[in-house]
Symmetry: none
Subunit: 196 residues, 4 copies
DNA sequence: AATGAATGAGCATTCATTCAT
DNA sequence: TATGAATGAATGCTCATTCAT
């Protein structure tokens, strides 16, 4: 499983070879097919497995009652750390975004996005009511923009292409610029949301 | 060309087969190799072709002396329109983000990002001097955040996964929500950059 | 293996197709690649296999303390017999002489020639000291000439072109003229080396 | 034609591409097929062309009435020089020796070898009668051995494999060791034939 | 006469999947 | 239950040959 996750993360679905996964795992191809009917099932399993980890993490952050800016900082730091410790999961997620449009991919995306979408949207709506966030914004759309920021934060930490892109912009490896990222992202969000 | 663009956009570089492209185009594989030395060259040609179109469009916008908010609106509308008219090109770009790490893909990405990176960074830096944008932000990092916003705008318009994701957040097809997107994105950027 | 040896012998390295080898062997291409990583490895294996046989045979002859003329006769008879029993191996070697200049073919040739070169040269040098061979000759060059004689003996027995050429000269099939070959070649060498 | 000769010499029949020949010649493939029905015919033409040159050269040497040792030295020097000046022809000849056993190759070999075979055999037979060469040898077989020596001389000068082999034996590039070759080869032949 | 675009079979190699052991 | 040998279709690419211009 660990090997499969690594391989899928590194090479994407199509370019991952079950023979390679089996060899690196020290088991036989036959054994893989004992537990999974085909490559797609193996991939699905790995994805669901990874998603659970990801969701657990986000769930921990959500319910706290802290100041919204402090919460945001916590989320940013957590996402950064998670992307560094488990880059494969983030890469796996990223690889999903360019996969073909199969039924099972759609289901996965529903599962991934639906949770955060509703959490963020509700949080913003509530904050609007309490006056913490300005009232002239569309909560759903701003939730979307917020998630974009968070998603890119993770991709830029874990995925080769986005890492390189970050480097082109800031001239620094993502690893070396944690404080810059946290500080500037908060500045950005604070103004954008008019956080009080 | 059209077929090749579609195939590359749908399957990415690695998983597009020249044999398939040839078959769908109704020509022979040999004919493809008459005009392109190899798959990489075909891909590069198609990418450069699309990039030039995009760059031309952006270049037209860049030097104008207009109010920065008006400029931003123009860029957003341009990108949205481009993504709708040439979704394959955006998908192509998106497919790059999960492709393998070959030398030639890296060069391509350099070209794509380097141009916008320098334009955005410089624009922000200049706007800081004229007082149009607040001075406590890092121009390079904010250029990066700005490009994130623009990139996601395009992906959400053209790429299946991001389209679906947008729908999950806002409950609307991207096609139907142009005005929402323009208005809210500008609101977001205006506050974030403290545009005057 | 047998089929591969035949095909390589007949067509040389470049012009032997693994698909053909597999088909003629009644197995699938995949099966070939199960045992050999690539064409080069298959070729190398077959060559080394054959070379070992030949080298073993020559090694047995080398260290003996017999009269040098008797030794020469033994070598000639051994080579003739080997060429008749394993013509494919000799053809294989011959095919090397016109093959492309790839790294791995060069290494193969180094192995083939280096062994006999040093054995022959040393043998001649020693024989010069004991007075068995005249002293006015260059041991290395005469070793080269000697190997030429032996090599042509084998090629003429096993390779179509050289067989035909032998026939043009002597009017006899090589198979039918063993005694002539042994007798006359010894006469030739004896005089040339002034064997005592 | 010049280009075709070079290509065939360098790559052999199978690995020479008519498209490459046409491109390097600056003419179209169609033009090649105007004059030659197929690749085999082109090759045959080139071979016959080259052979004429080769034969002309040998013919000049044959009829002289000089001392047989002097003649031999002339032949050796001529062959060496020829191989250096026109290595392609020699390589072409060498490539013949490993080609498949087609009808047209057999005819070529007949043409190439028959002439020298009869000249050498007759020369030796005559020399035996005049007492210049000892009488206990078979003229045809010794003619064959003699041609072996000459052939190897040419191959070792012009063909990559045999050049390398020569180097392994003597430690010198063939180019640098002309005098050694002439001197030692004569020593070898003189003794072998017991030239007076 | 000359061109060169087009064809399509061929090659080395990979890999998802099956199945006898 | 577990193995891994075997299959064969698929891929990127080449090239002898044809034929409309």
């Amino acid at each position: 499983m660990r090997v499969a996750r690594q391989e899928f993360a590194e090479n994407g679905f199509e370019n991952t070879s079950i023979m390679q996964v089996a060899k690196k795992s020290g088991i036989s191809v036959g054994a893989v097919y004992k537990y999974f009917d085909n490559k797609e099932q193996l991939f699905t399993y790995i994805m669901h497995d990874g998603l659970s980890t990801l969701e657990d993490m986000l769930m921990e952050l959500a319910p706290s009652e802290e100041d919204i800016l402090i919460k945001a900082e916590k989320i940013i730091r957590t996402l950064l750390q998670f992307s560094k410790e488990q880059p494969e999961l983030v890469q796996l997620y990223c690889s999903l975004t360019t996969g073909g449009n199969t039924e099972f991919l759609n289901q996965l995306s529903q599962r991934i996005e639906a949770v955060t979408a509703s959490i963020y949207t509700r949080t913003i709506a509530v904050a609007q009511e309490t006056g913490e966030v300005r009232k002239d914004i569309n909560p759903a759309f701003f939730a979307y923009l917020l998630d974009n920021v968070f998603m890119m934060l993770q991709f830029s930490t874990a995925c080769p292409y986005y890492k390189e892109r970050f480097f082109i912009y800031t001239g620094k490896q993502v690893e070396d610029s944690d404080e810059l990222i946290v500080e500037q992202t908060l500045l950005f969000l604070k103004a954008a949301f008019n956080f009080k």
